[in-house]
Symmetry: C2
Subunit: 282 residues, 2 copies
């Protein structure tokens, strides 16, 4: 049995487009469900696709089924909806009933519930890295620059903060400079975090951005993502560099991202947090 066409549930940004291109380059047919408000349907005009509002999940499931699609990739930037902002169609209402309102508490609850229901409906959810190799860098220094001792201390503190937040299912990032936590990421996203940290930075050595996968996070969907725009934000915030979770951070356009970091003198480190803490233990 062939796996059939790939269903791509697309949020914003480049990653879903790259997934589609990679799947088609590998000879696989792709059908995209483009979520309005998150992604721009015009960017999918070269692909068979259906543009729907978030509440029309029932319609999307019918369309996927009609095309014999059994495997889905869900990726791209998304804005967490509130329970009350969804105007569900009949299929979505059924799904919401199964999911329950409790899933709307917490950042990950909803996504996990959606994945569970889609699996119950017979779909297989593929991780984006199954289609795009080299998307998740392994542990190591990715660019030309290495962090100094002050940055290593800041990364240690950032790990502690991001983990504490992750334990209550909030955010994935923090900016630390000279031990001070300049900012913590909730739903505003990394770009907004970096933008406000530009106005909060202190004199002296620049800070670090630490981004980690939340404990219990489903690594098939919703991994932290960085790219050239993240580097630009980090430069504007006067950071010394970035530490992201190895094998758990989507690196959009790695050559451009690394080149931007190198050019700006920023380090770019993929870390396994436990190993990092052990290796840098004072």
């Amino acid at each position: 049995m062939t796996p059939g066409p790939l269903g791509l549930v697309a949020g914003g940004g480049e990653v879903p487009l790259r997934v589609a291109a990679a799947a088609r380059a590998a000879g696989r047919e792709v059908f995209a469900v483009v979520i309005e408000g998150w992604a721009d349907p015009a960017e999918y005009r070269h692909l068979p696709h259906l543009a729907i509002r978030l509440g029309a999940v029932g319609q999307a499931i019918d369309a996927l089924r009609a095309r014999g699609i059994r495997q889905l990739v869900m990726t791209g930037r998304a804005t967490r909806p509130s329970f009350l902002s969804i105007r569900p169609d009949a299929g979505a209402a059924r799904m919401l009933l199964k999911i329950g309102r409790a899933a709307f508490q917490g950042d990950d609850g909803l996504l996990k519930a959606v994945v569970r229901v889609l699996e119950e409906e017979g779909f297989e959810i593929l991780p984006v890295q199954a289609l795009l190799r080299d998307l998740l860098p392994p542990a190591g220094q990715l660019g030309a620059h290495a962090p100094g001792p002050e940055a290593l201390r800041d990364i240690r503190r950032g790990i502690a903060v991001v983990r504490a937040l992750g334990a209550v299912d909030v955010g994935q990032g923090a900016v630390v400079q000279q031990g001070l936590v300049l900012g913590v990421e909730a739903i505003e996203g990394t770009d907004a975090l970096l933008a406000r940290c530009a106005g909060l930075r202190r004199e002296g050595p620049g800070g670090v951005l630490v981004k980690l996968v939340k404990p219990g996070q489903d690594r098939r969907v919703d991994l932290p993502t960085i790219g050239p725009a993240t580097i630009a934000g980090a430069v504007a915030a006067g950071l010394a560099g970035l530490a992201v979770e190895a094998d758990g951070t989507i690196l959009v356009d790695r050559p451009a991202t690394v080149a931007a970091a190198d050019a700006a003198g920023l380090f770019l480190l993929a870390i396994r947090p436990d190993e990092f803490l052990e290796e840098t233990s004072p």
Copy 2:
């Protein structure tokens, strides 16, 4: 032995000015050390005072001693300096040596270390509430409006988030709407937190701001503070109300704050977090 004049180490905002007025109304002489960049020396022109930059702590200690001052109140808005931004005078350099650079890691470390050193130097640090009665509201509903069930759930989630942050010595506040954590406060302060949450709010019932005292926080200095400006920010962010820690939050100008909340339809609740969690347990 009389307690002598009161030394007032003044950061920004109204609270130090109110402390000075209350102490003088009670017949006590006040000498203010006004920290430039935090407070405006012009607002202290009616008081004997010394305006210094943060690094000139040695000069301040000499001035306090010369006036026979043994009791200090430290209050007002402050911006956390980085270690490298302080240009210490001789006295401050001695103090920094005692404090150690480690104190600059974490939000509270520095303040605690400063308090410890001042105590070693023979000063007694008074809590602001020793001079200003009714500054810290006890548990209960402060205004005309009560939180609804959705707000109670959001407060519960806010308590969990703020406590998780407090455990790693970050921030004192979070905004939660319908279970979603819209924002978490680091050093940007509550006003900035509220300002960005205005752009992140979801449809439906408004969220809540939760502000708590950090575990291990020295309640003589650096308590969370709210006032009429906080209510204005909460209104702009579309919040349903505020929950602040009872006996641990400075309420600047209570009548004006409560009146602003009442007029805008916001609830204003002083809570003891453990009791609140128990009473609202689902």
